[in-house]
Symmetry: C2
């Protein structure tokens, strides 16, 4: 069987094949950047225009009480099943960077008498920038530790540990259960960054007794460019959740306009300012595509796409330098190291193969099981061989 025949057979047997039609994708393009910017579900454009005309224009200020004000919690509840969270623990608000700041400060405040924050040494940069700023303000030292060494590095000085669930460069998936247990054994709290795992993997926050998490909605959740992020605070930490961006939207009674802050009940206290309704309702619309998705099927296809990518590399580009784990300890991306990655990715773009590159030398190919086809994987690897 040729690779093309294999791809065709895999596409024909794909239980998620019908989902592709729900997305607005240029058929001339093979899109491998759903791990950076998810593709738009077809109905989002019209839904958003309706929100502007009917809710904003038609109902005007009355829409705030007709569903806008509570949208951060309501949309959060739609994300909750994707991260394994029971109700009342997820809210959508602000950006990942801003939410990391809230959660890290709250985490160290809730764990006093300990002087350090441990940071995934290979973290996406903004997590490190934010942790540094938190350390400046709260007096905590910030220590970078490779994830494999985090369990041993946690000690009695560790207040909180910030770790990425899936490494954004290599695609490696870290062991949420084992790391969380090790952090807890040292008396510290863990903050998981789910940006590259939500919508790819059936994340199990409650099952692993995770303390806090932050995640992005514009990658595998297809929420739209710069769509608001979400915050998870485990129920047991909510009453002590004392966050520094305690704006009016997190107040117990925002429209009472009280001079003093009283934190709202439950997860609402993770909110800061007025919610960004247009982006939030675009995300709300985009989440509709998840209603009938079995996360086990999604995960299986994501891994199968990756396996087929590796198989194509083995056949067409043997010896390719692949930092992504060949076993299944990975998210839904395959990375390939090449000498001139930026130029190679630009040439792939010219051929209609859209991935991205991360310095210094990594090509990233995101695999979005809701719309990526096996035939496109073969197309990407074929194009890569032509450029090699």
């Amino acid at each position: 069987m040729t690779l093309a025949e294999e791809a065709a057979a895999l596409d024909a047997a794909d239980p998620l094949a019908a989902k592709r039609a729900e997305f607005d994708l240029d058929p001339a393009v093979a899109y491998f950047d759903g791990n950076s910017l998810g593709a738009p579900p077809r109905h989002v454009a019209q839904r958003l225009a309706d929100v502007v005309r009917e809710q904003w224009g038609g109902r005007l200020i009355r829409s705030w009480t007709d569903g806008w004000w509570d949208a951060p919690e309501r949309v959060g509840e739609r994300i909750a099943p994707l991260v394994g969270a029971a109700p009342g623990q997820v809210v959508v608000a602000d950006s990942t960077s801003v939410d990391l700041f809230k959660v890290l400060v709250a985490a160290v405040r809730a764990n006093p008498g300990r002087g350090e924050i441990l940071l995934d040494a290979a973290t996406f940069p903004t997590d490190g920038y934010v942790a540094t700023q938190v350390g400046r303000l709260t007096g905590h030292a910030v220590r970078r530790v490779p994830v494999a060494e985090l369990p041993a590095a946690c000690g009695e000085e560790t207040a909180a540990v910030l770790v990425n669930h899936v490494d954004y460069v290599s695609g490696r998936l870290h062991d949420m259960g084992a790391i969380t247990a090790a952090v807890h054994a040292a008396g510290a709290a863990v903050v998981w960054d789910l940006c590259h795992s939500v919508g790819a993997i059936a994340v199990r926050l409650d099952e692993h007794e995770v303390d806090y998490a932050v995640g992005c909605t514009y990658k595998f959740l297809n929420g739209g460019p710069g769509a608001p992020a979400f915050v998870y605070v485990a129920s047991r930490w909510q009453e002590s959740f004392d966050q520094p961006l305690a704006g009016w939207a997190g107040h117990a009674d925002p429209f009472a306009m009280e001079a003093g802050y009283r934190a709202g009940a439950g997860i609402s206290r993770a909110r800061a300012g007025t919610p960004d309704i247009l982006s939030l309702l675009a995300l709300d619309a985009a989440l509709d595509v998840w209603d009938d998705v079995d996360l086990a099927v999604l995960r299986a296809k994501g891994l199968a796409l990756g396996d087929f990518f590796l198989h194509c590399l083995d056949e067409l580009l043997p010896g390719a330098d692949v930092p992504t784990p060949r076993d299944h300890a990975r998210g839904h991306q395959i990375s390939v190291r090449v000498p001139d990655a930026q130029r190679t990715m630009a040439a792939l773009h010219e051929r209609g193969v859209l991935g991205d590159f991360r310095p210094p030398d990594v090509l990233r190919f995101g695999l979005a099981p809701l719309y990526t086809r096996y035939a496109e994987v073969l197309r990407a690897v074929t194009a890569l061989r032509e450029l090699s």
Copy 2:
């Protein structure tokens, strides 16, 4: 001349009358909440649908380099003339609450050795909540002072002063020039909250040598519900601007993915996380209505609408309790105190007159010169008389 004839004459002579047609407003409704949620310009719905289909769906990840990444600065430059700022000093990002946090921390860091923050005692609540959080983290005392007493209250301990340009309850306009000069005379920096003045008054930040400002785009700028806020940092403060939400979007070279933070040049360093593109481009579209607006004409109409509102009150409800200044030291709103304000406003809503209420007893009527008509002012006061 009857009040109805007066209203008709004023509407007939209104130089901004044609702007009303640019907005999508239910003709059955008299809308007086443009100081809380501006009405949608008609073209925004279609423009936003086009952004989703063409930029997000059509260009996908390539749009980030085709204009999305720099949109915060580009849209900021469109707001700059409305606040009297020369280029390079305004950026659109995050919410007002979050931006206040950035700016207040940066302001006190840039003015070391002083232990207090002064706060407008009648401030919109979120400003006070944020100032309190800043004080907790930086060790500054936060002292509430009535605005009239601020100039005398500033002293050698004052690091920064946070004051609202227009009081959100009474509509009183504070003297930006005099207060800024007094704050400077004491060696402190001033942060102006422009939420209720931008798009109403020709704000003159540069002329008054203001240090920092934050403002809202969803009120008189009609940017959409929860549209992102803007930050002004005067050029002379930009190099020392050291803000606590220093996420990757404010980095000098974000896509280099460096482990350490290096603040971007100029106003860009006021950015935090990934910009919220859909809301930002809705705002961008909404700003088109300002292209041909003379701010002096806008201001004159806003004051004339208020004068006519007061005149109608004098005729129809003599003795009404009006906390808004009768002279022109006010923004574009008239407030009326009534015993049961919440129920009265609900009854006005039933009559198609949409204002809002602020505890404990204030009815607020926003006057948006781009679409409010004098005949609607008469309708509002007439309805209010019927309920009295």
